[in-house]
């Protein structure tokens, strides 16, 4: 049987190759995903351990244990240990130079180059107290360079009866000239009487650094000082101002080993030393183990990997459909050979084995190609990333793991064999007598069973009900509802796919009838697609899967965007607000400051700002109890600058627009007449009765018209500017410019624009990634279309010749194939888009209906693109088979066999 199988495979090499490509793409997807997963893990481990320098081991004395100098010395003395440093990080150290101030994380200069993490670009690392090395960016912000001095401010515990700090300060610190309010902060009860006082120390900038491995990126970079300075400035010191390591509450030690020292032995020895020093459960780990531990097993790649593998699974399912189709046709083509084999004594099981053996060989060969392809792709991606100068270390070479080789191979072979099971069964049904029939024996037809119909109907009906239930439930039990909806959606989709053989041919026939009006080639194409409904259905279904998912995702994305937009419009109608602060006058009464002159004009001139409004702000008492800010805005201004039209319409003379939260706390109902009075000093002015309009606004101010404010006796200070940005996605730049404009004044900038931009970008990015992943499935399906058409061309050789003999031109024949390709692909795409739209809406309803007012949207551009791509690809898929068909000589029609 082996030899026969191989001989048959050689004869069908072209077909098998096309089918193999589908499997290869799928397995390449899996291999690449797994490899990317290990690389992501590597990168994340490397990023986490980047701050360890090249330390060989990381020791942890255990939670709650604070290392002291004695213990560190003891560890340093352990045989095999070349160097050891306690890991000290002092965050949020305030530093200033001139009138510029920043907060900066500070770490000690390592005792050994092995623990160096930063690259010195200018000057050197501090070697003595009173010196500091700054990250380049920090130096830039402070406008200092090597040789300049920065002033470090820190807090030091001061016993109530303590002597002057100045005299004792070892770093020559001077007592803070300006007493900050927190100056008076006292220690926790039970501690000795005293207070923390702000102290300033001068530090000379001796070096500038960069952080090539992003070791301190999460801290915004790290400045370096001596260990003593770091402890002191970090506030880790005794009451008398002596820096003490034990106060830093660090339990971690970085260890560098002597050359040739045995890691395990040293680790044990260090553990012993730590135990001897009083540690309760010391732990000495390698870098990777430490990284793993600090991620507590979850490095964030797990869920991503699962999601991406889910898409790979979709691609493999589609590939399986393509394979099943190919084998079905191969078996049909070989009917006579198989019958002959049966005639000369092959038993059914031998025929089945032959088909399955062929599938295994194909699956294996294609999977090997796929693994190679996937590995190569990842390697190329790594090369690109290396040249992209990313802020984290990227491995230079792919290291294939066992999983990245074995898993795709196994999946590829199993899927191929599974896909060939049905064709293998059909092959065993070929009767020996078929060998004796004339050439035009009908292809082994498979009549879809009643069982399939029942399964399909149960899944579709049940799934749809679950989906509907999920949507209905989503306002009460969001998580459960979404779960039910996902299950229902998946079930109904699987049902539709299982039943595709029942409905898809009808859809193809209906669309074919429409298309058939456009001339004979189209009629031919339509008739041809109806000839083998099962095959057409399977081919269209393969495409349907990918298209449905793409359409669903983009529908879901636009719907989510529109819904969230609408929600944000209602809750946060102002893109950007720039407000001057409230201050208090000498008697403690609130005073509204005006926006600095020219600010408003400058803000309005920022590119990307669509409209702006300058508002009078005052403090009012509403309902006789609640004090809130009142903003004066004209209805015209409101319509211009607010994103919520309903809210803008509520603004008017005689009304006060009250956010829900304010209304609740003041006990105001919508439509109430409420007294509003301006707060003046400690009392209020003359109240005016206004009609309250309660709105779902997430703010703590009320809106009235400027003339109402005048009536209340407001001074009319223009203290707030509202901006509306033209394109939300540009709001980052707008905010940047607003900040630049207002950097020299204390203006408060708030608004929803950045949040909008953030989530819109998140949705767009997610959509792009998902669509990219699903595109693989679509590509495989299109290979399936080409495959189906090629097989049809071979089967229809005589017909093509007859048509040519009867007067069909080559061009017409090619056109007919093109229409057929477009029809198969187009039906898959049209139905997929329709289903995707439905699933996208229902899914969005299940997820969002409980959170916000659902705004159903149709992503016309995306759907049009999907349809266009499918149609064009269908036509392109027909190009090669069409050429083959057109080359058929008309004489072939007269051939007897």
């Amino acid at each position: 049987m082996w030899r026969l199988t191989l001989a048959q495979m050689r004869r069908s090499l072209g077909r098998l190759t096309a089918a193999g490509v589908a499997v290869a793409i799928g397995t390449a997807f899996i291999a690449a995903t797994l490899l990317a997963g290990t690389i992501m893990q590597r990168i994340s481990y490397d990023s986490i351990t980047a701050s360890y320098g090249t330390a060989d081991l990381i020791a942890d004395a255990g939670a709650g244990t604070s290392l002291d100098e004695k213990t560190v010395e003891a560890v340093r003395g352990t045989p095999g240990v070349a160097a050891a440093d306690a890991r000290v990080v002092a965050p949020y150290i305030a530093m200033s130079a001139g009138d510029r101030e920043i907060t900066q994380t500070l770490v000690p200069v390592p005792s050994d180059p092995a623990f160096d993490t930063q690259h010195v670009t200018q000057g050197a690392l501090p070697t003595a107290d009173g010196q500091i090395a700054l990250p380049e960016r920090a130096a830039e912000r402070l406008h200092v360079g090597v040789g300049d001095t920065v002033s470090v401010s820190y807090y030091r515990w001061q016993e109530a009866a303590g002597a002057s700090a100045t005299a004792e300060d070892p770093a020559g610190a001077t007592e803070g000239a300006t007493a900050a309010p927190s100056d008076e902060a006292t220690g926790a009860p039970g501690e000795p009487e005293g207070s923390y006082r702000e102290v300033r120390a001068d530090a000379e900038v001796v070096g500038l650094t960069t952080d090539p491995t992003s070791a301190w990126a999460q801290y915004g970079g790290a400045a370096l000082a001596t260990l003593d300075d770091t402890l002191l400035w970090g506030g880790f010191g005794d009451g008398d101002g002596t820096p003490a390591l034990a106060d830093a509450a660090t339990s971690q030690l970085l260890l560098a080993l002597d050359d040739g020292a045995d890691t395990a032995t040293v680790a044990d020895a260090v553990e012993d030393v730590l135990t001897a020093s009083g540690s309760t459960d010391p732990l000495v780990l390698t870098r990777d183990a430490a990284a793993e531990r600090s991620l507590s097993g979850d490095d964030g790649t797990g869920p991503i990997l699962v999601v991406v593998l889910a898409f790979a699974a979709v691609a493999m399912i589609v590939a399986g459909l393509v394979i099943a189709n190919t084998f079905q046709v191969l078996v049909a083509q070989r009917t006579r050979t198989l019958a002959l084999l049966r005639c000369v004594g092959a038993v059914r099981s031998q025929v089945r084995r032959s088909v399955l053996l062929e599938a295994s060989l194909l699956g294996l060969a294609a999977s090997v190609a796929g693994v190679l392809l996937g590995t190569a792709l990842v390697q190329v991606a790594l090369l690109v990333m290396q040249n992209a100068d990313l802020p984290f270390p990227v491995p230079s070479v792919v290291r294939p793991t066992v999983a990245s080789v074995v898993a795709p191979l196994a999946v590829g072979v199993v899927v191929t064999v599974l896909a060939a099971l049905t064709p293998a069964r059909v092959a065993t049904r070929v009767a020996p007598i078929a060998a004796l029939r004339p050439a035009d024996a009908p292809a082994a037809g498979s009549r879809a069973g009643r069982f399939r119909l029942v399964v399909s109907l149960v899944l579709v009906v049940g799934g749809t009900l679950m989906l509907a239930g999920g949507v209905a439930l989503s306002k009460q039990l969001l998580v459960v509802a979404v779960g039910i909806a996902i299950l229902g959606g998946a079930a109904s989709f699987v049902g539709l796919l299982v039943g595709a053989v029942f409905w898809m041919p009808r859809v193809v026939a209906a669309i074919g009838r429409l298309v058939g009006r456009f001339g004979m080639p189209a009629r031919l194409a339509a008739a041809n697609t109806g000839r083998n409904p099962a095959r057409t259905a399977a081919t269209s279904t393969a495409l349907l899967i990918g298209v449905t998912l793409v359409a669903m995702m983009s529908t879901g994305a636009v719907t989510a965007r529109a819904t969230l937009d609408d929600e944000l419009d209602t809750r946060y109608p102002v893109d950007l607000a720039v407000a001057a602060p409230f201050t208090t006058d000498e008697s403690g009464n609130p005073v509204t400051e005006a926006l600095p002159a020219g600010t408003v004009e400058a803000l309005a001139d920022i590119p990307g700002v669509e409209s702006s409004a300058t508002l009078v702000r005052d403090s009012v008492e509403i309902g006789g109890t609640q004090t809130v800010d009142a903003l004066g805005i004209t209805p015209e201004q409101a319509a211009d600058v607010l994103r919520d039209a309903d809210l803008a319409a509520a603004v008017g003379d005689g009304t006060v627009v009250v956010p829900e939260a304010v209304a609740e706390s003041a006990g105001i109902e919508d439509g109430d007449r409420v007294p509003v009075a301006r707060t003046e000093g400690s009392g209020v002015g003359t109240p005016v009765d206004l009609t309250a309009v309660v709105v779902p606004l997430d703010s703590w101010f009320v809106l009235v018209t400027p003339s109402t404010l005048d009536d209340l006796g407001s001074a009319g200070t223009l203290s707030t500017a509202w901006l509306r940005v033209a394109d939300v996605l540009d709001s980052g730049q707008v905010v940047q410019q607003v900040q630049d404009l207002t950097s020299d004044s204390v203006l408060e900038i708030t608004g929803a624009a950045l949040e909008r931009a953030l989530y819109q970008r998140a949705i767009d990015t997610l959509l792009a990634v998902v669509v990219g992943l699903l595109a693989v499935a679509v590509v495989i399906a299109l290979i399936g279309v080409t495959n189906t058409l090629s097989l049809s061309v071979i089967e229809r050789r005589r017909e093509s010749a007859t048509l040519r003999a009867l007067g069909l031109t080559r061009r017409q024949l090619r056109a007919s194939m093109a229409v057929e390709g477009a029809l198969i692909a187009g039906v898959g795409a049209v139905v997929g888009v329709a289903l995707g739209l439905a699933y996208g809406w229902l899914g969005s309803a299940a997820v969002l209906a409980g959170i916000a007012d659902l705004q159903l949207r149709v992503p016309w551009a995306d759907l049009g693109l999907v349809l266009g791509v499918a149609l064009v690809a269908g036509v392109l898929a027909s190009a090669l088979p069409g050429r083959t068909a057109a080359r058929t000589p008309p004489v072939a029609a007269l051939a007897v066999d």
Partner: protein, 284 residues
């Protein structure tokens, strides 16, 4: 009636290269007046090259009169199928000319040949070659559809009535018997009123009763509907339905029988075989 008129070549031995064309005319003065629907002049067709060279047609001159039912006969490998392919514009000639009316089909490119086949030639195949996805009626109308021409309903009805297909028009080929399929194929060949219909072993895949039926339909379409049919066959009984039999041997015209009977055709074929048997030792 003595229909067997041996071609001069058959009795005299080697066939003169350009002797045959005049023979039908000489034998049938009454038909000579008819215009030839199809003519071949010095037609040769060579397959392969060098050692593998096969001369399927070695200079054929023959006329097929319009309104006549002609059978081409000859032993296997005599070139009868090749002659038909070249005459019908299905295959290119190596040299010489083949005229359909005034058109030399050997000079046409593929598109022109396709249009010629579509508009001026009909085909009946041994394996029927109906398109399985179309009904009988759709199959019959196919050539018109391809040409984008409107069906002549009266002509369609005539054909359907003559061929007895009235009850079968909505059936697909798989629901028709072999004889019925071939009758549909004949209707398809005639629907566009072509100048000539080529039939390639039209009874080859049929039982003898269906075969006889099909042949009499072919004859009726010539006698009653005024069509021109050229049929290739190796069955003397089938050939006897024709008005005239052209015998082919070794790529040349080897005889011509007017108003053939099966016996006359058999005798003519025997004469050819005789010729081969006696010639072989001489030639060897």
């Amino acid at each position: 009636m003595d229909p067997f008129v041996p071609a001069p070549a058959a009795s005299t031995g080697p066939i003169p290269p350009h002797g045959a064309p005049d023979a039908p005319g000489a034998a049938q003065p009454g038909r000579a007046a008819r215009e030839a629907a199809v003519r071949a002049r010095g037609l040769t067709k060579v397959y392969g090259r060098g050692e593998a060279e096969v001369r399927a047609l070695a200079g054929v001159d023959v006329d097929f009169a319009a309104g006549e039912f002609t059978a081409i006969m000859g032993p296997s490998g005599s070139g009868k199928s090749t002659l038909m392919h070249v005459l019908a514009g299905l295959d290119a000639a190596t040299s010489g000319s083949a005229f359909l009316g005034q058109t030399d089909v050997t000079t046409l490119d593929d598109d022109a040949l396709t249009r010629l086949r579509r508009d001026r030639v009909g085909f009946v195949f041994q394996s029927f070659n109906l398109l399985p996805m179309f009904t009988a009626e759709q199959n019959i109308l196919l050539p018109l559809e391809l040409a984008g021409a409107k069906a002549d309903r009266a002509w369609f009805d005539t054909l359907v009535a003559t061929l007895g297909l009235g009850q079968r028009l909505t059936h697909r080929p798989s629901e028709l018997s072999g004889g019925q399929q071939q009758r549909v194929a004949i209707a398809r060949a005639l629907i566009a009123k072509p100048e000539v219909v080529f039939a390639d072993e039209p009874t080859g895949n049929l039982d003898s009763r269906s075969g006889a039926e099909v042949l009499s339909f072919l004859r009726r379409s010539v006698r009653e509907l005024g069509r021109t049919i050229i049929m290739v066959t190796h069955d003397p009984t089938a050939a006897a339905y024709a008005d005239r039999v052209v015998l082919l041997a070794d790529g040349r015209i080897a005889g011509d029988i007017v108003d053939p009977t099966p016996e006359a055709v058999l005798a003519g074929l025997d004469a050819l075989r005789q010729l081969e048997v006696t010639e072989t030792p001489v030639g060897a």
